[in-house]
Symmetry: C2
Subunit: 353 residues, 2 copies
């Protein structure tokens, strides 16, 4: 099979970790006889520096032609705390999501036995937690009408959803639940928001079409509590963009393995795979960043974008082996820490062997 | 001093717990020679049942004439999962907030040594955590323009803030920080939302007026993580209505003492004091609900609404004594559990003694 991948390393540690993921991708492609075609493009702060645009047209065109995008991370401290900066790296991210139609962000929340002691939660609460957060990614307040009135003294944002947008993401939620433990938790604020009432209405209409799946409705404030108190009760959680931004970050932190968690953003034109962690500028260029989340994102890419399950599985096994061996970077090493590139090489060799 | 209190017991366990709080209020008023005037009114599901309005005009008038409102809880299961119900208890809550101008909801997040084992967090992370969440309560998406378009197939909500609203709540935040540990964390999503950019702009303008206080800016998704990872790093957190709804619930759960936490809503016309827990319908009428959060809300009432610090302190001491003694309801009892009214009596007697 021909695998056509766009590489968007981005800022900070992005380039280093994408390099490691590509070692694994190449090893797997070779092993399974896939033809690999990949090209790299700029995004984020580095794209602003180079061409004044965090998601340049050229980058977009490359993504549009790709079957999958492997993304590193974006963001640079020089843009922090400057709400008035005319161009910001995040705008590139949002433009990319919108233009590629990346309507669903999928984040598996999994624990790693060897990292459970890093979870802020008591072990017995989180051990065995295993759920998937599905966040709507191209609607809501992120993309609704926003602006100022009264000489700039009044500011507004609009959360807006259409029935089609809600149906599309709930359908995906049901598909995931059908393949997992048959429970879908729809998170909203239907007691206050009109947009949430639409979400709930649509969910209530769709639920009877999935008789095997238990549909559960939960207010977002309650969900923020349940994630900490009873994370094992979730199977698939689906919610709108802004709530998802908050809840998925909360959910990822309870695992104790933030640095290891991958994500997929499923789109109309292509799909994007990226670690959930940020660009970690302090570590950039030091060869110390943990590449595992990006390597696992590559595994998701094989599974979701190319429907190549065995390839994804092999990458996961290689990652698990490196962790079992303790061949890992300093953030999770118990003994001797390895460099970013050493971990990437180890995993690629394990795949080749 | 004359203390003019409106009592809004509400639904579920509301009446029982407000009764206990009033026992403490009466005991303190007697001891310190305050003249107590109080009257009760309907709100919530019981008000819908009685007069078809969850916040009847009569109730509002009583509140407007009061110096403080002691509130129980509202909500009834018969309204759950029915987003289309024409009148809902929560509408009463929102109407009350708006009409009384309750612009700031204040929630102290404190731990109780004897309940730390109930926290979902590892003890060392949460032990000693002590911060205050200030949530803007009359603006944002809760009260912005909302509705449907396209034959009901598109739904929208508007998050809107004026400079004055932001200044007012940030000022309160700075006042709290000044009396505490001199750190104010302003939580927003200024990298995406225009309303958040206004919040941050205003905060950046105000910060230099409070040179003793460290102003910290944090994105809401990051805050959702920090609350679990490093709760001890917070002193005073201030945020807009919807983010506050989510984060304050998250924050209260980490203490392990959700059933004990009080809150105050500071207003233009009066102030409202209420437990943060809900109406717990399953326990209604069983004389088993924990009255402590409501009793501590009464302590906040003395301190905030009447500026009577000693009175508030005495109530707190009485509560602490009941807990030290293990004279508590079943939800937190280690040995023999006491009834709601027994705990109320015990605390009132302790105050009298
Ligand atoms: C950087 C920011 C715009 C972005 C978001 O809010 O979506 C990030 O927090 C994320 O979750 O990918
Ligand atoms: C019941 C609901 C409308 C309310 C809110 O969202 O404000 C509640 O969750 C709260 O926090 O007091």
């Amino acid at each position: 099979m021909k695998l056509n991948i766009a590489l968007l390393p981005g800022d900070g540690i992005g380039p280093e970790i994408v390099d490691q993921a590509m070692k694994a991708v190449k090893a797997v492609a070779q092993k399974f006889n896939h033809e690999l075609e990949y090209k790299q493009a700029l995004t984020g702060a580095c794209a602003i520096d180079a061409v004044g645009d965090p998601y340049p047209e050229e980058t977009h065109e490359l993504c549009m032609k790709s079957d999958a995008v492997l993304f590193g991370a974006i963001g640079d401290p020089k843009f922090d705390n400057n709400p008035k900066a005319p161009v910001r790296p995040e705008q590139g991210l949002l433009a990319m999501r919108k233009k590629l139609g990346l309507y669903a962000n999928i984040r598996p929340v999994e624990t790693f036995e060897s990292l459970l002691h890093k979870s802020p939660l008591r072990r017995e609460l989180v051990e065995g937690a295993d759920f998937v957060c599905i966040r709507e990614l191209t609607g809501g307040m992120y993309f609704g009408d926003k602006g100022r009135k009264d000489d700039g003294n009044t500011a507004y944002d609009t959360c807006i959803y259409t029935r089609e947008e809600v149906e599309r993401i709930l359908k995906l939620g049901y598909e995931f639940a059908a393949k997992r433990n048959k429970k879908l938790t729809v998170v909203d604020k239907a007691n206050v928001l009109e947009s949430s009432r639409l979400w709930r209405e649509v969910a209530q209409e769709m639920a009877p079409n999935y008789p095997d799946i238990k549909t559960e409705y939960m207010f977002v404030d309650n969900a923020a509590m349940q994630i900490i108190q009873w994370p094992k009760n979730f199977d698939v959680m689906v919610t709108e963009n802004m709530f998802g931004d908050i809840l998925t970050d909360e959910a990822s932190v309870i695992t104790g393995s933030l640095g290891l968690l991958p994500s997929a953003s499923v789109g109309i034109h292509t799909s994007v795979f990226e670690p959930i962690h940020g660009s970690y500028p302090q570590a950039a260029g030091k060869n110390i960043a943990n590449p595992i989340a990006t390597i696992l994102s590559a595994a998701m890419m094989f599974e979701y974008a190319f429907d190549l399950k065995d390839e994804g599985k092999l990458i996961r096994e290689a990652v698990a082996a490196s962790m079992a061996e303790g061949f890992v970077t300093e953030d999770i090493a118990e003994g001797q820490a390895q460099s970013t590139s050493a971990v990437g090489d180890w995993i690629a060799h394990w795949i080749e062997k």
